[in-house]
């Protein structure tokens, strides 16, 4: 079964690029990615640019009208979506264990089963 892992965290918490903390953080993510690969869980994943670069398209009504485009993320919350993984795991407990092992603190991580994936027949 495939699970989407969505990582929400406070964008202000990010360490300065080039700082030792930043280097440690990168090493943490690399190790986590390697764990996913070694365990056969890796499908894909990525870090998002900050939410001030987000654009939201609102599709209304019957769909014939062009979507309304606004600046900013879908929801202005303190914790913003900052990255994601698409993983393969035999059950929710394995997926949750991986989510708990993410090299990040003070974050909310949503784990959701993927209902269907047309690219992975």
């Amino acid at each position: 079964m495939d699970y989407m892992i969505l990582i929400y965290r406070d964008e202000a918490d990010a360490p300065e690029p080039g700082s030792p903390e930043h280097g440690q953080m990168l090493a943490g993510w690399l190790a986590f990615n390697q764990r996913l690969i070694d365990g056969g869980h890796w499908i894909t994943g990525g870090a998002l640019a900050l939410s001030d670069t987000a654009t939201t398209v609102r599709l209304d009504g019957n769909g014939s009208a062009p979507g309304t485009v606004t600046d900013g993320p879908y929801a202005e919350t303190k914790e913003q979506l900052g990255g994601y993984y698409l993983i393969s795991a035999p059950d929710l407990d394995v997926a949750l264990e991986l989510a708990r092992a993410l090299p990040i603190r003070d974050a909310s991580v949503e784990v959701r089963p993927v209902a269907s994936r047309p690219d992975a027949g």
Binding site: D91, P113, G121
Partner: protein
């Protein structure tokens, strides 16, 4: 076959569901790795019993009958699903290609598949215990909402019907049914596994919390028990005993069980014949149930011997101090204060701090109790906080403050017996307020 009246048949089936339903759901769920299927199959079998037994009479071996029929119902459902999927596959192959789960329509290894005729569900003793523990852990999986954990535990493991669970928690049956359906849907869709995790401790904490919640609900519901309301106290004891049998080495399970036995010993003295509350210091201790107290003492001693302390054992120790005190005056309040201090340190719970305040007042006087009370935050909407504040103020000689706190408690209380008790106490406080 035994002839029986419809009323008797209802009772037989209800008792059968409670005594064997949980184990059967567990066994079928273990066999087919599908809790929803297992539950549906057992419900189908119970419905068949309701339909047929009034005509045929009760079979000689009801549990055996239920097992055979439930297993056949499970296979029927698997076959129907498989046939449906084949039909869908014929007209719309892309739907079945990936999204649909073909895993749980395949009978497990060793299963005769679609063969007709008698089917048996052979599980050895060890497997049955495993099945039941896995089912209990699944029902209380932290990925499920607390309300759903409680509902599933009573429904699937306890063998209660949805309407009984709904009545026990005073919610409409449709609400409870939706809650259960939603939980089963999540179990299947998110694939919450039917396994015993390597590190059991954290999961066991959740499981014990759920059982404690059922117990508390039963304790508080006393006096509102109608014909439809099941005795949740009895249910929580039954489920905790089951768990204690499955995990005999876990001290905290014993702690929770002992706590329940001590509390049950006072079942008949907590209320007057009119349903009015009798506080602990005024109860007739000669009417406390010795058998329950002895059981509590035995279970608690065994648990403490494991030298693995935890909050439920401390709660049981406190309940034991009360249960074993011959008179209210014999109560060892300093010991109880020490135990509540431990409990506050373990749980950080403001409710336990409130209990500490009350015990401190008993041991060291009302002003000392009020000092502990002053350190509590977060209980402003809890009626017992205000009731305790009122009692301590009254004892400290401040009738006006007591009346104000009783007023506040009365605004928040819901149980009728407690309401009447608080109203009486408010009148006492008001009588003591000097008139200007």
């Amino acid at each position: 076959m035994t002839a029986a009246t419809p009323g008797e048949i209802d009772r037989v089936i209800g008792a059968l569901a409670r005594r064997h339903g949980g184990a059967l759901v567990a066994a079928l769920a273990g066999r087919y790795s599908d809790v929803a299927l297992a539950d549906d199959a057992v419900q189908d079998a119970l419905v068949e019993a309701w339909q047929r037994w009034p005509d045929t009479g009760v079979p000689d071996n009801p549990p055996g009958w239920l097992t055979t029929v439930a297993h056949r119902k499970a296979l029927d459902r698997l076959r129907r699903t498989a046939a449906e999927q084949r039909r869908v596959a014929a007209v719309a192959p892309e739907v079945v290609a990936r999204g649909a789960d073909v895993d749980h329509v395949r009978p497990a290894a060793g299963e005769p598949g679609g063969a007709e005729g008698e089917v048996t569900l052979v599980r050895d003793e060890g497997q049955i215990r495993d099945d039941q523990l896995r089912l209990l852990l699944l029902c209380t999986h932290p990925a499920l909402h607390r309300d759903a954990q409680v509902a599933l535990t009573l429904r699937l493991v306890g063998g209660l019907s949805t309407s009984e669970v709904a009545a026990a928690f005073l919610v409409p049956e449709t609400t409870m049914a939706q809650r259960i359906v939603r939980a089963k849907h999540k179990i299947r869709t998110a694939r919450i596994p039917l396994t015993v995790p390597a590190d059991l401790t954290g999961r066991l904490d959740v499981l014990l919390t759920v059982l404690y919640l059922v117990f508390n609900e039963g304790y508080l519901a006393h006096g509102t028990t109608g014909p439809l309301r099941v005795d949740l106290l009895a249910e929580s004891v039954r489920l905790t005993e089951l768990l204690a049998g499955l995990l005999p080495d876990r001290a905290e399970v014993g702690g929770l069980l002992a706590l329940q036995w001590f509390t049950r010993s006072r079942e008949t003295t907590r209320f007057t014949g009119d349903g009015d509350l009798v506080t602990l210091d005024r109860q007739d201790r000669t009417r406390w149930d010795r058998t329950c107290i002895d059981r509590g003492n035995r279970v608690l001693t065994a648990a403490l011997r494991r030298a693995a302390p935890g909050p439920f054992q401390v709660r049981a120790l406190i309940a034991g101090e009360h249960a074993n005190a011959r008179t209210a005056a014999d109560t060892d309040w300093p010991a109880i204060v020490r135990l509540y201090r431990q409990l506050v340190a373990m749980t950080g719970s403001p409710v336990e701090r409130l209990n500490l305040a009350v015990a401190t007042a008993e041991a060291d006087g009302a002003p000392a109790g009020l000092a502990v009370l002053a350190t509590i935050s977060g209980l402003d909407r809890y009626h017992l906080f205000h009731a305790a504040a009122a009692e301590l103020a009254l004892r400290a000689g401040d009738a006006a403050a007591a009346a104000a706190s009783f007023d506040r408690a009365l605004e928040l209380v819901t149980a009728p017996a407690e309401q009447r008790h608080l109203a009486r106490r408010l009148a006492v406080a008001r009588a003591g307020v000097p008139t200007a």
